[in-house]
Amino acid sequence: MSPLIGILQRIPAVVGFEWRRALTVSRMTWMVALMAFPPGLLMLVRMAEQNEPPVEVVAILVFILSPCVVCILGVFLWATPALSSELEGRSWVYLAVRPYGPIAVLLGKYIVAVSWTIPVGLVSSVLAVLVFMSQDTMKLLVAECGLVVLSCMAYSALFLLIGVVAPKKSMVAGIVYTIVFEVAFALIPAAVNMLTVQYRLRCLLVRWMGFDNNLVKDNPVILAYFGNESAMWHVGVLFGMTAFYLIAAAVVLRYREFTSSLETES
């Protein structure tokens, strides 16, 4: 049997099993809280403001809250401990001695992370956008929802890779990576920020909302933050980054060895 078919055959089992396990009160509560956070916060902002803020400000606020914070926090909880949870619980060995088990579990958990977080991100985006209704509401809704989907896919894959590379301290490694690369490096107007998911997402926001004409044109500094590539290019790069992270995670997992002694270390 081809390895690819073997892996694909097993993924549905992992997805179904992990989905059922995830239907707990605490997990659902957390997801509802995440859904409510951006619209709740923007309601507070709205109540404090007398004037309607410009659509650029609303777009950026929703972008930071929903496709960034909500999606990152959502997939972070799922994807980063994909391996470390099995190691810490000493259940990894049962999966490792099954044919194609490790990779099927990895990809299955990726799908679960994405499929759980996308609805949360979409609902929070829609509700957040509706707090500030304007003539651009529809355009903003479509843009933010698209960003939610891409953000969940890319960040899930990224955190999955981080969790596989550093299983012992996966959460901390994920946070450090996010702060250093996705926050700090992503703000440096240089080539380095083009390697971040954050850069691609904000470029798409600018492209899809048509902010280019107002903000980006003729300003080299702003150009470095928002680029001048087309939206399709950024979408393609994000898909490429997602695929790269997933393949890298699978390769690392294939060649790393986990013993019972490692399983006992947290």
């Binding site: 916060l41 507070l44 404090a48 004037n51 400000v57 606020l61 926090l73 909880l77 946070i175």
Partner: protein
Amino acid sequence: MFAVLFPLLFFGIPFFLFEQSVRDPFTWRTFSSFALSMPQASMLRDSIEQKEIGVDFGARIDQGRRRFPRNQWTPPASDPTPEQFDAIRHEVWAFILLTFMRYPQAILMVLVVGIVAPPLISQDLRTRAYLIYFSRPITRLEYIFGKFGAVGFFLLGISAAPALVLYIAGVLLSPSLNVIAATWDLPFRIILGSACLIIPTALVALVFSSLTVESRYAGFAWFAMWIIGYVTYAALIAIPTFEAGRDNVVFEPGWRMLLSPYQVLGIAQAYVFGFTVDGDMVVPAFGMLGIVSILSIVVLFRRVAAPMSV
């Protein structure tokens, strides 16, 4: 080690520049440019202006937004006299130490506690090691105190210890040891400022650890608290700040700062070092820290007792 040493070395530079400025006017200009580029530099300037000493820091033309100075730099019209240097030394040193503790060390604190604290109690719950602990003559208070000490030790190593080393470095980089007379209280402020940081943060981290048998959830809750708090604060001040900049007025975040743990700690530590971020928020900030600490202790006691209950 690198994460602790690098900020220490970096923050030794302003100490050196300031003390060398007594002899060298050019160095004063370098120092004042450097100082005004540091976060919350207006706090230092406001504090010195209140003393009416008449020191000219120069200016960054901030286009109306004093809180976030922008790039155009005007050098000082005159250099401070030796008497003026002595008069502002305490404020400058306190400012450098506060900035050191607020920025690199606070971020490091979040990371270090996120590594150290989550498994401390959660693993005991998971492996039922608490049975072994409490089969010995150890009280709940001693257990909690011991766990707190573990986190506190690391936090001391990244907050109080390097800050004290920085102070000592400042003394040694000064023209004479007489600077101690003007700055003798700073080591105590460092310890108090560290206590404001260590006590509530360590207790909250231990609470998260005690609420779950999975240390990764405790770690996640810890980081989520900081991220959500800061994002909430940033979102609430975004539009008012934008409008204040446009209208050339000053915007005070006020109660919004209380929604972010990082800002609350900032208010408390700034007060300890003799600065005021927002006068009306000092008491609420300390109140919040106190309430959080007390609640954390109560929750910890209940959680530690819970597994032993029949």
